[in-house]
């Protein structure tokens, strides 16, 4: 009999706890997790590399977005599950200018004040099978011109004025992505581990990429 009352209490407790979780559950229903293109959902500068650490630290106050001068910081408003209300930057819409105001204003350790050169939002990766100068479709160099870090982060292939090559100093602000005139954005911000060049299929048999000139950039006639 006592066991039965104990079990009944346990059931009641479970039901009550379940009821208490209803608001949270409702919120998950309203903002379901969606598959997101990681190159269009960068965390603001100063965020830890581990996204779970960022998510645990962020309280969703929106201060970073409020102080952002170019208003590049957006928020997961309708999607994201437990990421809801946390900030992201879509460099194809509007890119970070590395002003550092968001890191200054963030009340938590979600965005830690970091010197400009040590920010790691990602690294720019160039698809040499699409970038206009790399496929000899014209001269451009917009990405290299707009880069706030200059020579450290992006330069041109040896002896070629216009084929961009990303260097180790790139912090992933995404200015190059925003400015890139190609509709498919052959330059994207990716995880640092993925490297600065889109790996090309070894044999150009897929039919899609036209023969790109020798990677690494040799002396090419213009």
């Amino acid at each position: 009999m006592r066991r039965r009352t104990f079990l009944e209490r346990l059931m009641q407790g479970a039901v009550l706890a379940g009821a208490a979780a209803v608001p949270v559950g409702f919120n998950y229903l309203m903002a379901p997790t969606a598959k997101a293109d990681p190159t269009r959902h960068l965390r603001p500068p100063g965020a830890p590399h581990d996204d779970r650490a960022f998510n645990a630290a962020c309280i969703g106050c929106g201060l970073c977005g409020e102080v952002c001068p170019p208003r590049c910081i957006r928020f997961y408003r309708h999607q994201g599950g437990h990421k809801v209300n946390t900030p992201y930057i879509d460099p194809e819409q509007k890119a970070c200018i590395l002003c550092g105001l968001c890191m200054e204003v963030c009340p938590t350790d979600a965005l830690v004040k970091t010197p400009r050169d040590e920010i790691r939002m990602g690294i720019a990766q160039i698809d040499r099978a699409a970038c206009y100068p790399w496929v000899d479709k014209g001269v451009c160099g917009a990405c290299a011109v707009v880069c706030p870090l200059g020579e450290k982060a992006i330069g041109f292939a040896f002896a070629n004025m216009y084929r961009p090559v990303v260097k180790k100093g790139c912090v992933g602000c995404g200015q190059c992505v925003e400015v890139c005139p190609h509709p498919d954005k052959p330059i994207r911000i990716v995880d640092v581990a993925l490297g600065t060049v889109v790996p090309q299929p070894a044999v150009p048999g897929g039919g899609a990429p036209p023969p790109a000139p020798a990677a690494g950039g040799g002396l090419l006639p213009y």
Binding site: P23, V24, N27, L63, E66, P69, R77, H82, V84
Partner: protein, 349 residues
Amino acid sequence: MVAPGSEDRPRQGRRPFRAQLNKLRWLVLSLVFLMLLALPFLAVYQSYVAAHAYDLMSPSEQHFYDFMAWLTGPITDNPEQDFNLVKGTTWSGTLFGLRLSDPLAVLSQIAAEHRVFTAFLLTGLIPLVATLLLGRIYCGWICPATFLYELNDNFAVVLRRLGIRLPHRRLDTRFKYLVLLVGLVLSAATGAVVTAAIYPPAIIGREIYYAVAAGGFGSGAAFFLVTLLFDLLVARRGFCRYLCPGGALYSLLGRYRLVRIQRVVGDCNDCAKCNAVCEFGLDPMRDGFGQECNNCSACIAVCPTDALVFRLTPRDQAPQGPGHLGREYKRSQALQSGEAGEGGRTEAA
């Protein structure tokens, strides 16, 4: 309602200052809400000044820019810097260089992160001390959701006058402590500050910002609408009373608050207006305040004999029996003076 006896002290001349506090409270609530409305517009204007070329703006943006320049021109000639003084929401923000955060934000962030970030902990200190001393004043005096919930409650009164029957259930007020506990446990388990999404003041500040500056309402707006309907159709001020995790935290912190509303039994006439007006369903007429009282002073404002006062004491009074201006007390007094040995029916109230 007012006892008609001739020896009752009639209210003479001006009412005491404490009776005006409820108006002051409404002023504060409105100002906080207006501030939350204005800040996103200021932020947008600020970003236009800081990082956008006027000539490249669309005509509507230019109109907005001109309007804001006209509006803020008399206040500041350097909007880019000066508007940094006040930023954010009541969830976390900067007030003239002072960083303040909701204690619930601090607590749930600690739960989610499994460690304490001292700089953030310190931002919650002033609200924490204020709550320890003054109780749930955040709920009554600052919370932007309270502003809307009280308007919603007034709307319910209008609906009732129109003859629409609205249920008014009483649930268990302890349920919100469970919501707080479950919210913290889920924060710790999922590694996300889930209480931020179910805490109306955080939602309000955020959603106003989203709507003005970030392209439209988010999912929190729907959540808040549901809580409004809950208040309207299930229980009066139901979310604050029974569900709000922040209200639960503030109630716990304010349990031994120093500033309390108490009843002066000699002035009370048992009219029960205080009980009717109390949004939290407390029982001021029988000294039943407890930790849920948010010192909103609505009962003080409505009291016809000014029998409710603020006192500095860490504990509520024990029930004092019927008010001395009321009928019941007088009857018992008459009985006592008539036949000795009657114990006074103070308990019978």
